[in-house]
Symmetry: C2
Subunit: 229 residues, 2 copies
């Protein structure tokens, strides 16, 4: 018979804040709850961790099952464990923070789970449990992170213009950036590869397309940079 420790055990869940960018809005993926507690309320995707999976695996599995989402980036955010955060039982949740490329994902996520939806972060509804607090923490983390790591690229299509990239940063940081300074700084990082292609089907001068250099991107992700702007 297997050994087990003789201590009372709380429930353990994972919850994931999934961010995507859509036409200048920062969006978050929410799920409408089907059962009590908080039945009918919107909440972060998540669920109970299985005993045979790690926390990271649990987070990915829940996203797949609940929202059909494949994430481009996933990191642990914080663990929330106040005694009364779930009215029915003691539940500790490990919160995660994820980024997805919305241009590839929207159709799937929307069709797959009829009760999943993307909300602009600015006008998300009041969430179940302490999920408002979790969302707030995730937003703070995203804003901090984008200043010293190139995470933001996970949110864009593979080929993009510098203006798209700048809009992404402006959306996340919630303030306008200077065009010339932005381009100077981002190009000096030697992170982008200029392509021979340009935008199509725009009613004005077409912009040059870029893609990021995966090697350089990887290096900067590890060692960090300073992106104050």
């Amino acid at each position: 018979m297997p050994f087990t420790y003789e201590y009372p055990r709380p429930c353990l869940t994972v919850d994931v804040v999934v961010f995507g960018i859509d036409e200048g809005d920062l969006k978050v993926l929410l799920i409408q709850r089907g059962q009590a507690p908080f039945e009918g309320r919107w909440a972060l995707p998540g669920g109970f961790v299985r005993l045979d999976e790690s926390l990271d695996q649990g987070a990915e599995r829940e996203l797949r099952e609940e929202a059909g989402v494949k994430v481009a980036y996933l990191e642990q955010l914080y663990t929330f464990g106040t005694v009364d955060r779930d009215p029915r039982d003691r539940v500790v949740t490990v919160a995660y923070f994820a980024l997805v490329n919305l241009s590839e994902h929207r159709p799937q996520a929307a069709s797959d789970a009829r009760n999943a939806a993307w909300f602009a972060v600015a006008d998300a509804p009041t969430l179940a449990f302490d999920h408002d607090k979790i969302l707030e923490a995730a937003l703070a983390r995203l804003q901090a992170k984008v200043r010293y790591q190139p995470v933001g690229f996970e949110l864009l299509p593979e080929k993009f213009t510098l203006t798209q990239l700048q809009k992404l940063y402006e959306t996340i940081l919630e303030r306008p950036l200077d065009k010339r300074n932005f381009r100077k700084k981002i190009l000096k990082m030697d992170l982008l590869k200029e392509l021979d292609e340009i935008e199509k089907d725009v009613a004005h001068r077409a912009a040059r397309l870029y893609r990021f250099d995966p090697k350089r991107y990887e290096r900067l992700t590890r060692k960090g940079f300073n992106f104050e702007l």
Copy 2:
């Protein structure tokens, strides 16, 4: 009869990496284990979370009980939850990161728990479970944090000299700093209050004592600063 969720539950523990500074060495508090698994091996202080306490409360309680330590600073670090990190059962642990003022604490901690000891981080033994990984993560966090928040002061006595403060930073960052630049920068932050007192009992010119301004300190802790040096 109270409601409970019908999912298998892992064990949940907290473990704390407690740092202190002692004569130019960065030290960490370890506990020698009295039971299996890893009996006799050194490990981080910690233990099972009770169902009627939050994670933060659990961390503080364990420190009190196991090591008689009152911490000056405590923050959650990361949650470790791979399946096999404890050979006997599924145990998820929420790791914390703490700073104590060693000049006030050593006698107590040493006497209180005969199996607790301070080790220089550089030559700590191999630890039980995945505690080496946790310690490594805590050290990285401390080094990162000290650059943009005034956490380091928790490690010093109330009144201190600028040289002591500089040594503290040098110890944490593991590299020498320029004396004049250090003083210029730290004083410009308007974080320190110059006292009318000077060092006692030194065999050379006595240095001026400083204390930090709690209001200003609080503000900088929240909003951050840049301390690259």
